[in-house]
C-alpha cells in the first residue's frame, strides 16, 4: 500500500464530531454538596434521593481513583468539570416531541436517530439523553399497553419511587468504586425500564447518549428491572463532538433479572476517540453489572470503538441457581486509544453457566487489554464457565494484553479458558489485492470475520451498524 493511500485513509474523520448550537443552562465547574443539592433540586427530587446522593458523595471523598488498569492518562480535575448541563429549551419540560427544540431534533437526525415515531425503525423505542437530561422517549403509549415502563430515571424517581427505591444501588452500591460513587452523587439522568411479570417487551428498547457541551461530564444512570419470567432487549449508543480536551463519561448501569427473566443488553459505543495524535476524546469509565436470580439470563453484548480511554467491565452476578451470564465483546482501538475492558462472572448459585467471548482488535499505536474475572464461590455446585479471548493486531506499533483472573472455590466447577493472538498480515492483504479487493475492504472483511461470533449476538439492525462502525474506525489503520 502506498504512502499516498495511507494518508488518504487516515484523513477520514469522526462523523459524529459536530457541535450543535443549542443554548444550554450549564452549572459552573466544581463539585461540593451544594452542587448535589442543586442537581437534586433541579429535578424536584424527594428528600430520600438527596440523602442517597449525599451519602455517595461523602463516600467518594474518601476514595481514590483506581490505578490498576493498563491505561495511562492525565487524571481529571474533578473541580474543573461541570456536573450539570441541559438544553435551555428543556427547562419547561416539553409535553410532546412537537415542543422539543428543532435544533435538538436535528442533532439526533444527523446522527441517524430520528425521534419522530413515524420515521423510526419499526419496533425500536428510543430514550435520548442529551448532555445531562433525557430529551424524549418514543413509543411510550404502545409500551404502556404492555405494562412496560420506559422513561427517564428522573421521571421514574417521581412516578415510581417505590421501584427506584427498591432497586437503585441494589446491584452497584454507592460505594462500589470511585466512579460509581461519583455517578451516584451527581447522576443527572438516564433511563429506567421495568418489565412486569411474564411480559415479553414488544419492541427493542434503546437509549442514545450524546455529549454536546464542552467541559461537562456525563453521568447517566440506567436501571433495568425485569420481573419474573419477563424478556427485554435493550440497546445503547453514544457519540460526542470532537474537542481538544478530554471529557469524562462515568455511567452506571444496573440490571436486575428476577426468576426466569431474560435481559439482553447491547452497546454500540462510539464516543469521540481523540485525534490521531491522542489529543482529546472521552474518558469512558463505566460500571455495568447485573444480578441474575433463579433460571434468569443476562447477556451483555458490546461493540466498543470509541473513547480515548475505556475502563469498563460489564459483569454478571449469578446469584440464582441455574442462572446464565453471557458477555460478547468486540473492542477496537486505533491511533492512541487505550482500552482496559472485560467482564466479571461471579458464580454464586448452583449449576450457573457463563460464557465469555472477547474479541480485541488493536491498530495504530493503541493498547487494548482484556481483563476478566471468573469466580466460582463455594455454593456454585456444578457451575461452568467458558472463556474465549482472541486478539487481532493490525500493524506493528499496537499492543494487546490479556489479564484473566480465575478463582474457583468449588471443586465441581468447570472453567475453560482459550486465548489466541493473530495479526493481519501483509500476505493476506496482498492475496486480497491480487484478487481485485482494495485494502480497506480487505481489512474490514478480515476484521468482520474475526468478530462474527459477537456480531451474531447483536439485534439485526445494530449488527449492520456495528459492522459499518468498525469499517470507519479502522480507516487509516493499515500502513
Amino acid at each position: 500500500m502506498s504512502q499516498e493511500q495511507i494518508d488518504r485513509l487516515i484523513k477520514k474523520e469522526y462523523a459524529a464530531g459536530f457541535v450543535s448550537n443549542i443554548e444550554s443552562e450549564t452549572l459552573p465547574p466544581g463539585l461540593d454538596e451544594n452542587v448535589i443539592r442543586f442537581i437534586s433540586g433541579k429535578k424536584n427530587e424527594p428528600e430520600w434521593m438527596l440523602e442517597w446522593r449525599l451519602k455517595a458523595y461523602r463516600a467518594w471523598l474518601e476514595m481514590e481513583e483506581p490505578e490498576w488498569a493498563h491505561v495511562a492518562y492525565e487524571k481529571t480535575d474533578y473541580q474543573a468539570v461541570s456536573y450539570y448541563s441541559a438544553p435551555k429549551s428543556m427547562a419547561d419540560k416539553p409535553k410532546s416531541l412537537d415542543e422539543v427544540d428543532p435544533e435538538l431534533l436535528e442533532t439526533y437526525n444527523k446522527l441517524g436517530i430520528p425521534l419522530h415515531e413515524q420515521e423510526m425503525l419499526a419496533g425500536v423505542a428510543v430514550d435520548a439523553v442529551f448532555d445531562s437530561v433525557s430529551v424524549a422517549t418514543t413509543f411510550r403509549s404502545k409500551l404502556k399497553e404492555a405494562g412496560v415502563i420506559f422513561c427517564s430515571i428522573s421521571e421514574a424517581i417521581q412516578e415510581y419511587p417505590e421501584l427506584v427505591k427498591k432497586y437503585l444501588g441494589s446491584v452497584v452500591p454507592q460505594k462500589d468504586n470511585f466512579f460509581a460513587a461519583l455517578n451516584s452523587a451527581v447522576f443527572s439522568d438516564g433511563s429506567f425500564v421495568y418489565i412486569p411479570k411474564g411480559v415479553r417487551c414488544p419492541m427493542e428498547l434503546s437509549t442514545y447518549f450524546r455529549i454536546n457541551e464542552s467541559n461537562t461530564g456525563q453521568f447517566e444512570r440506567t436501571l433495568i428491572v425485569a420481573d419474573e419470567g419477563s424478556h427485554v432487549s435493550y440497546l445503547e449508543g453514544c457519540t460526542a463532538p470532537m474537542r481538544d480536551e478530554n471529557q469524562l463519561h462515568a455511567a452506571v448501569v444496573e440490571l436486575v433479572a428476577l426468576d426466569n427473566a431474560n435481559i439482553k443488553y447491547s452497546t454500540v459505543q462510539n464516543w469521540y476517540p481523540g485525534d490521531s495524535e491522542g489529543k482529546g476524546g472521552i474518558y469512558n469509565f463505566v460500571t455495568k453489572r447485573g444480578i441474575a436470580h433463579d433460571h434468569a439470563r443476562i447477556s451483555w453484548t458490546q461493540v466498543e470503538t470509541g473513547s480515548a480511554v475505556t475502563w469498563k467491565y460489564p459483569s454478571c452476578v449469578l446469584k440464582g441457581d441455574h442462572s446464565v451470564g453471557e458477555f460478547y465483546s468486540v473492542a477496537l482501538t486505533n491511533n492512541c486509544q487505550q482500552a482496559d475492558t472485560g467482564t466479571k462472572m461471579i458464580h454464586l448459585g448452583k449449576n450457573t453457566r457463563s460464557t465469555i467471548i472477547s474479541k480485541g482488535i488493536s491498530a495504530g499505536r493503541s493498547s487494548n487489554a482484556y481483563r476478566g474475572l471468573v469466580r466460582m464461590n463455594p455454593g456454585a455446585e456444578g457451575a461452568r464457565n467458558y472463556t474465549q479471548c482472541d486478539s487481532l493486531l493490525i500493524g506493528d506499533t499496537c499492543a494487546a494484553h490479556t489479564f484473566p483472573y480465575i478463582e474457583s472455590k468449588n471443586p465441581s466447577a468447570i472453567i475453560e479458558h482459550e486465548a489466541t493472538t493473530s495479526k493481519v498480515s501483509d500476505d493476506q492483504l496482498y492475496l486480497c489485492q491480487q484478487r481485485g479487493i482494495d485494502v480497506e475492504k480487505a481489512v474490514s472483511m478480515i476484521v468482520n470475520g474475526f468478530c462474527k461470533e459477537v456480531f451474531k449476538e447483536l439485534p439485526m439492525e445494530f449488527a449492520v451498524e456495528a459492522g459499518k462502525l468498525l469499517e470507519v474506525s479502522l480507516e487509516g489503520s493499515v500502513g
Binding site: M1, S2, Q5, Q433, R435, F450
Partner: protein, 250 residues
C-alpha cells in the same frame, strides 16, 4: 497483450531481475523455467505489484496500459491473475465471501453488473466442482486448514471465477500428486481461449505434459537466456541447466 521491456527489479536492495524482456500475445501459453534463485517467482510478484518488489528500470505494457503505474488491485481488475505458490490462509473470512468480493470488484471495474447471489452461488458451485473440491470448501475460511493440494485447487477455482485475460501460475505444480496435477491442468486447459494467455512458471517439465506451452523460456540470473518451443523443456529435463549457463557465458 503483455510486453515486458528490459525489466529491472530488486527485493531488499538486491537486484533480481536484470533486463528481462518478454512478449505474450493473446491466447499464448508461455512456460518459464530456470534454476532456483533465477527470479522466476519475482517476475510474477513484480507484475502483480507486490509491496517490497521495487522496479528499478524497464517498462511493462498490459493491454496498452502502463502496468507498473497501476495499484495491485487495479492490475487484478484489469485482468492479471497470479496463482500463488504458497497461498495464505484468511481465517474467519469464508471462501464464498472472499470470492464474491473479488468477483464484484472485478466485474464493477469491467463495467459489468454485479452477479446476484443466486447466479454467483451457481457459478461458484460449478467452479468448485470443476476443481474437484467438496462444496463445503466454499463455506470454510479462505485456505483455512486446507492441504497443500487443496490450496492450489482453490487458486484455480478463483481463476475460473475471475476470468482473467492473463494468468500467471507460480509453481502451481509444486507439492501436487499426479491426480491433483491433472485437476489443475484440466482447469487451466478448460480456460484456454484465443483471448486468454498464460505464463506458467515451473521447475519441472512434468507439468508441461499436461499444459502444453507454445513457448518455453529459460530464466537465469534475472534474464531470459534462451527461448524455444516445448522441445526445449524436454532438453532441459535431460541435461539440466548447467550446459545453458556455459553456453550463455561462453
Amino acid at each position: 497483450m503483455l510486453t515486458i521491456d528490459s525489466l529491472n527489479a530488486e527485493v531488499e536492495d538486491k537486484a533480481i531481475l536484470k533486463g528481462l524482456s518478454l512478449e505474450v500475445k493473446p491466447g499464448e501459453v508461455h512456460a518459464i523455467m530456470g534454476p532456483n534463485g533465477a527470479g522466476k517467482s519475482t517476475l510474477g510478484h513484480v507484475l502483480s505489484g507486490r509491496e517490497g518488489y521495487e522496479v528499478t528500470g524497464g517498462r511493462v505494457d498490459f493491454h496498452g496500459k502502463d502496468l507498473l503505474d497501476l495499484e495491485t488491485e487495479e492490475r487484478a481488475r484489469e485482468g492479471l491473475f497470479l496463482a500463488f505458490q504458497y497461498p495464505v490462509e484468511i481465517p474467519g473470512v469464508s471462501n464464498m465471501e472472499f470470492l464474491k468480493a473479488a468477483v464484484d470488484a472485478v466485474r464493477e471495474h469491467r463495467g459489468l453488473e454485479a452477479l446476484d447471489a443466486v447466479n454467483f452461488m451457481k457459478k461458484a458451485r460449478e467452479a468448485c466442482k470443476a476443481v474437484n473440491l467438496k462444496q463445503d470448501f466454499l463455506k470454510r475460511g479462505v485456505n483455512e486448514g486446507f492441504s497443500g493440494g487443496e490450496k492450489k485447487r482453490n487458486e484455480i477455482m478463483q481463476m475460473m471465477l475471475l476470468e482473467p485475460s492473463l494468468a500467471i501460475l507460480d509453481e502451481t505444480d509444486s507439492g501436487l500428486d499426479i491426480d491433483a496435477l491433472q485437476v489443475v491442468a484440466d482447469g487451466v486447459n478448460a480456460l484456454r481461449s484465443p483471448e486468454r494467455s498464460f505464463i506458467v512458471v515451473t521447475h519441472y517439465q512434468r507439468l508441461l505434459n499436461y499444459i502444453e506451452p507454445d513457448y518455453v523460456h529459460v530464466l537465469a540470473d534475472g534474464r531470459i537466456v534462451k527461448s524455444g518451443d516445448k522441445s526445449l523443456a524436454l532438453e532441459l529435463e535431460e541435461k539440466g541447466y548447467a550446459w545453458l549457463e556455459d553456453e550463455v557465458n561462453g
